[in-house]
């Protein structure tokens, strides 16, 4: 019985991989024949970044069961550190894909470090403290990057806070210019890079969730006291899920930032955190495929509604409410669960 159940989860995971690969192949073919609009083409990379954000937040909210309201903070961390790395290495590493990979890794590493640091005190606590601290973290990161000046010259990196005191040598370049953010970014993000990142994210998250550690994490979510009583190290497993989630968000931030020629800290504010949370809630807590679909659909939706001109954000909100109502309708849930592999109604839907 047990092995059969695992089989179903695995099958569901493979379906997710398959759908993502299929979507990538179809879009690549359509793109090469020039039959997708430039509007959609321009959104492919941000969609990939938002998908990674949604999956990583789903790991915290859906699998770990802790509410994070500052996920954009990790994205910001990854965006700024990743782009700084990419600009600093512009001459040293001429190959764009390699530089991109390094930038993603740097972004992920710094975001993981930030996640680790705030996790140390907070994940030891009971209750909703993580939500409050991550909310504050998002704002703190925004303020830091709004006041941070980073320059690079022949002597290496220079940092200063509040005002530009970097005193760069001849030929030096100011990378992060406080409130002006980073300008003149080379656009090296590609749809393929985004696709690879989404696949890596899925592999990491599925393997984590389906491992011994993943079962411990879900045990903590379902009943912390019971999990502790059987010897699960609560803080360790919480930390594992939270840091993984932060690292993936950092990589998503790097990918996102390198798709635009300019990036400012104010972009990654509370609204962005909530937007990602909406993706997760709409897609279903713990349901990775749902997060992917919700992130893609809700990124395209405001653009698709452009014909409503000034009323489009109103229409967007109405569509959101409708989708929330419809997907939570019990009649419809049982209707959709018929299409699900193994007919595990209820488990994946919420």
């Amino acid at each position: 019985m047990k092995s059969l159940k695992l089989n179903k989860t695995t099958r569901w995971n493979y379906l997710t991989y398959l759908l993502v690969i299929l979507a990538y192949v179809i879009l690549q073919v359509l793109g090469s024949t020039g039959s997708i609009s430039s509007s959609l083409k321009g959104m492919l990379v941000p969609i990939c970044a938002y998908i990674v954000m949604a999956i990583s937040l789903n790991l915290t909210v859906g699998v770990l069961g802790e509410l994070s309201l500052g996920h954009a903070g990790f994205m910001s961390m990854g965006a700024f550190t990743g782009v700084t790395a990419a600009i600093a290495l512009q001459d040293a590493v001429p190959a764009a894909p390699l530089r991109m990979a390094i930038a993603l890794a740097v972004g992920a590493a710094f975001a993981a470090l930030a996640g680790f640091l705030i996790g140390i005190p907070v994940l030891r606590l009971n209750g909703d403290y993580l939500a409050i601290v991550t909310l504050a973290f998002g704002e703190i990161i925004k303020s830091i990057f709004n006041n941070l000046y980073v320059g690079v010259d022949s002597k290496g990196l220079h940092l200063s806070l509040l005002s530009d005191k970097t005193n760069l040598a001849e030929g030096g370049k100011l990378i992060i210019a406080g409130p002006m953010g980073i300008g003149g970014i080379q656009k090296i993000s590609t749809f393929t890079a985004g696709f690879v990142l989404v696949m890596i994210t899925l592999i990491v998250v599925f393997h984590l969730v389906n491992s011994r550690a993943g079962r411990a994490i879900m045990a903590i979510r379902d009943n912390r006291i019971a999990a502790e009583s059987v010897g699960v190290n609560v803080t360790k497993y919480k930390m594992m899920a939270f840091v993984t989630s932060a690292a993936l968000a950092g990589a998503a931030g790097s990918l996102f930032a390198m798709n635009y020629s300019t990036i400012v800290a104010n972009k990654f504010d509370f609204n962005t955190s909530i937007l990602v949370l909406v993706f997760v809630v709409l897609g279903g807590l713990g349901n990775m495929l749902g997060s992917i679909i919700a992130a893609a659909a809700l990124t395209i939706l405001p653009e698709a509604l452009r014909q409503f001109s000034d009323y489009r954000m109103l229409v967007y909100a109405i569509v959101l409410i409708l989708v929330m109502l419809v997907t939570n309708n019990p009649t419809l849930k049982s209707f959709f669960s018929r299409f699900k592999p193994g007919n595990r109604s209820g488990k994946e839907a919420v």
Binding site: E139, P179, I263
Partner: protein, 399 residues
């Protein structure tokens, strides 16, 4: 029964979203309304140049986006009504003052078939879209994105407004020349590109000219409602002029709070202050005596300006600000350049781009916001700012 109803509902939502998807891609509706509430726009006779721009039509900075859109619309209507060889079709898309959404809006315009661009209205979004127009070889002339990074390194990106650094140094120069003050306080927004750019050049220039900066305080997004600390700092240091390089919303609060503190220095603003008089719920008596540098004066006796102001008031019910005038000038500058180049509406964006670069670097243009404007190869405009003061709820030229 209930199930059937829900299925129907779901199907309806899907159809709706599909219809929405299709609509955004459709290119074959040339007379698509630009979403303005104005009367039927004059239908372009024959082929028209597709002119597109992005700007914040909703959200906190909407006043700028809508002003630019309306100003450009008036110019386009005038030109189309004349029925000359050059006809325009204008479309503005909303970017909510956000770089990501600006790129989306730009791509939507590209799908529509935009040939020449009005860039973006605000600085940071324009920096993002200018990288796109540069890569796609579409010529862009922004009415009001004033940051240096907008034009830097892009040969096909031009500005109709002053660059931020010029505004800062021109303000300092003006204050020193007119002897308005010797002790200056600055309150600026340290997470805003625009504010920071002006602040930095202002302080540099003020140092050169011997203006003493006695107080230099900041605020940021999120703590922009209480300015008592900044104002008392300026007051206790005896500043007799306060320089406000910022947009008008925080400025309106600063004016109100200074009044309640009984602090009445000379106020000096920049073009972002333009619009304060039309702000909803703002007591215009607070702005009495505020000085600002702006290239456009709605009270000018110049015939063209009066004509424009009259039309704008008729159509949109308010006095146009500098953004509207800049956008109006942009359209006329395009008309002049296209006429000089002998361009036709069936030319590709790339050919037009080459022709426009040649024209803009060589021509001289007279508009509402200045006479004898010229552009250098970097895309910066040269024109002289006008000092203005608010008297009895209206802008009056200082000299």
């Amino acid at each position: 029964m209930k199930k059937k109803f829900m299925c129907l509902m779901m199907a309806m939502v899907m159809v709706l979203s599909l219809a929405a998807c299709g609509g955004s891609k459709a290119e074959e509706t040339p007379a698509e309304s630009t979403g303005s509430s104005s009367e039927e726009t004059a239908a372009p006779s024959g082929a028209a140049f597709k002119l597109g721009g992005t700007g914040p039509l909703t959200g906190g900075a909407a006043i700028y986006g809508n002003a630019a859109k309306n100003g450009a619309q008036i110019a386009v209507d005038e030109i189309n009504a004349e029925g000359g060889a050059i006809q325009f079709e204008l479309k503005y898309e909303d970017d909510q003052h956000d770089a990501e959404k600006a790129v989306n809006a730009y791509n939507a315009l590209k799908d529509w078939g935009m040939q020449i661009s009005l860039g973006s209205v605000t600085s940071k979004p324009c920096e993002a879209t200018s990288a796109e127009t540069y890569a796609d070889r579409i010529f862009a002339l922004t009415p009001s994105a004033s940051a240096t990074a907008v034009t830097e390194g892009k040969d096909n990106m031009f500005q109709m407004c002053f660059m931020d650094p010029n505004q800062g140094s021109a303000s300092a120069q003006y204050i020193a020349d007119k002897g308005l003050a010797t002790k200056v306080a600055i309150i600026w927004k340290n997470d805003d590109v625009y504010s920071k750019g002006i602040h930095d050049t202002f302080t540099a220039k003020a140092g050169e000219l011997g203006l003493e900066i006695v107080s230099d305080t900041t605020f940021a997004d999120g703590n922009d409602t209480d300015f008592s600390v900044q104002l008392s700092d300026a007051q206790s240091n005896g500043a007799d002029l306060v320089f406000l390089p910022m947009y008008y919303q925080p400025a309106s609060l600063i004016l109100a709070q200074a009044k309640s503190m009984g602090y009445a220095p000379t106020w000096f603003g920049v073009d972002g202050m333009d619009g304060i008089l039309t702000m909803e719920g703002f007591d215009t008596s607070l702005a009495e005596g505020v000085m600002l540098l702006t290239p456009f004066n709605a009270d000018s006796t110049d015939e063209r300006t009066q004509n424009f102001v009259k039309k704008y008031q008729e159509q949109f019910g308010e006095v146009p600000n500098q953004f509207a005038a800049d956008a109006y000038d942009c359209v006329y500058a395009y008309k002049q350049a296209l006429e000089n180049a002998g361009a036709t509406a069936d030319m590709s964006a790339e050919d037009l781009c080459a022709a426009m670069i040649e024209q803009f670097t060589s021509m001289t243009f007279d508009g509402l916001t200045g006479d004898g404007m010229t552009w250098d190869a970097s895309g910066a405009v040269s024109k002289s700012p006008k000092g203005m003061v608010i008297e009895n709820g209206a802008y009056v030229g200082l000299d």
